[in-house]
């Protein structure tokens, strides 16, 4: 049967038969790197178009509709425009850091792709601390934002970067604690174990109330960590022009933009893996006939379907809710989300120990 896992396996076997193991490994690195970069490009194009169409539909507008059928090639035109634009470096800026910041943003986004299981047996690196790796690397993104804000030598950039620093540092706590609630139920940090544990049902349904609360908190924290409205204080275009990337133009701006959308995809992919079963089809307990029918839908489709559902949810938030003030933002985290997620972790632990989950 055709599946991404089988194709990857047969390519691996063929390469190892034809070349020496070291050369085969090198070729696989190149293939994986090329695929990661092309996934980035495709995600950037698709998600920007999706965002514009979703926002248009929610605001009773038409949205992009000129370039190509239904405006489908609008993002291609935008990309070409950004590629051709001049990339200015302000005179008073720290040139080295200024040019380094977007690269770090994109690299930290790229590193996060490694442990994500895109389909059955289709994963770059199934390391045994997958979730810990993700939450560790996602904190690196804040360095690029602070670097961009500091090196721009611009008050708006600096303000945006500082806000973003406070925001990401505080929301990482509740994101981590809500992830922990699921880790407690699974008993493993490995991505394959987490997906395999959901064969009889997704954790969102199996884990009772704690999983549900953890899911809601995770979605809120994920929205905040990716600096999106209603938590887009780092950009806040009505107050800080564009926040940390005010001074960026051309391709360097495009890298920040791309990193933002790729981060959304990755955060939603993690959320889908933890709460909605990753590539695991929709299974209900011991209903073998129903489960067998669901298995006919390819696992990659399940994964991308769930991820795009979560992305749509985050876009829905963005085009519905107004932006929070800085004090409201920190109040929400420290007075509400953190105590609730701590209590929730306790509840999840009790359920895991008593074995009340299905």
């Amino acid at each position: 049967m055709w599946s991404l896992g089988n194709i990857a396996h047969s390519i691996d076997v063929w390469l190892n038969q034809t070349f020496s193991p070291a050369l085969a490994l090198l070729i696989e690195f190149v293939i994986v790197g090329t695929m990661a970069i092309s996934l980035f490009a495709v995600l950037g194009l698709v998600l920007v178009f999706m965002e514009r169409k979703v926002s248009a539909y929610m605001q009773i507008r038409v949205g992009p509709n000129r370039v190509g059928p239904k405006g489908m090639f609008q993002t291609f035109a935008d990309t070409i425009k950004l590629l051709l634009k001049e990339g200015l470096t302000p005179t008073g800026s720290d040139k080295f850091l200024f040019n380094l910041a977007p690269v770090i943003a994109i690299i930290s986004a790229m590193l996060l792709l490694a442990p994500i299981a895109f389909a059955k047996d289709f994963q770059m690196w199934d390391l045994n601390i997958g979730v810990l790796y993700v939450s560790a690397i996602s904190s690196v993104a804040v360095i690029s934002i602070l670097m961009a804000g500091w090196s721009s030598n611009n008050k708006y950039s600096l303000l945006g970067a500082m806000r973003s620093g406070a925001q990401i540092v505080s929301y990482e706590l509740s994101a981590g604690l809500s992830i922990l609630a699921i880790i407690v139920l699974v008993g493993s940090l490995k991505m394959t174990d987490i997906v395999a544990s959901q064969e009889t049902g997704w954790w969102l349904f199996k884990g009772h109330i704690p999983a549900l609360i953890a899911f809601v908190i995770f979605i809120i924290a994920a929205t905040a960590e990716t600096n999106r409205a209603p938590f887009d204080l780092a950009e806040a275009e009505s107050e800080l022009t564009a926040g940390f990337h005010t001074e960026y133009s051309g391709m360097r701006f495009a890298l920040f933009f791309l990193a933002e959308y790729v981060n959304i995809f990755i955060v939603c992919a993690i959320g889908a893996t933890l709460f909605l079963g990753g590539w695991m089809p929709f299974h209900i307990g011991q209903w073998t006939a129903f489960n067998h029918v669901m298995d006919f839908i390819p696992s990659s489709l399940w994964f991308f379907g769930k991820t795009f559902f979560l992305i749509f949810l985050i876009m829905w938030f963005r085009w519905t809710f107004p932006r929070l003030r800085v004090d409201q933002l920190l109040n929400l985290e420290w007075k509400y989300l953190l105590p609730i997620s701590m209590f929730n972790l306790l509840l999840a632990t009790a359920i895991a120990i008593l074995g009340w989950h299905f």
């Binding site: 979703v54 929610m58 038409v62 938030f317 519905t320």
Partner: protein
């Protein structure tokens, strides 16, 4: 802050957020009523009192009603209209004043409607055209009377 108030706050916050999401979700799924227009193809129906530019009305015989009295030129607060007159010979051999050029500076016009009010013969009126952008400023200076046009019979 009491514990009950704390839980009540969370409940009310979640409820109000869900109300907002329900509204945008409704708009998303009912994508029929669009409040914007695809501009160059479908244009908005403009209000009757909208003023775009001054035009000199001509009938099918290429005749207009302007007598060249310059009432509009005098009424204009910022010198938008300049009327150049000439003398024409009537069939009876008399000299009669007529317009040579009705010069209209669109770039100066504020669409105040005072010229239309001042006109004794209702020769000029406000048109609803609004796409006036040009590449050269001189194209905004227009001559309103068409070449070869005459004054209508019986208009004094």
């Amino acid at each position: 802050m009491s514990a009950i108030q704390y839980i009540k706050d969370i409940y009310n916050a979640v409820k109000s957020l869900l109300i907002g999401m329900k509204q945008t979700g409704y708009y998303f799924t009912h994508h029929k009523e669009i409040i914007t227009q695809n501009y160059p193809e479908e244009k908005q129906q403009l209000a009757e009192r909208f003023r775009g530019e001054v035009v000199l009305t001509h009938d099918s015989n290429n005749e207009h009603k302007c007598t060249g009295c310059t009432a509009c030129e005098l009424a204009c607060p910022n010198g938008t209209i300049k009327i150049v007159t000439k003398f024409e010979l009537t069939p009876e051999g008399k000299k009669k004043k007529a317009i040579d050029k009705f010069v209209y500076h669109l770039e100066l016009c504020t669409m105040c409607n005072l010229c239309i009010v001042a006109c004794p013969t209702d020769a000029i009126k406000m048109d609803q055209a609004f796409e006036h952008s040009v590449f050269d400023r001189s194209q905004l200076t227009k001559v309103l009377n068409k070449p070869g046009s005459k004054i209508m019979e019986g208009v004094e």
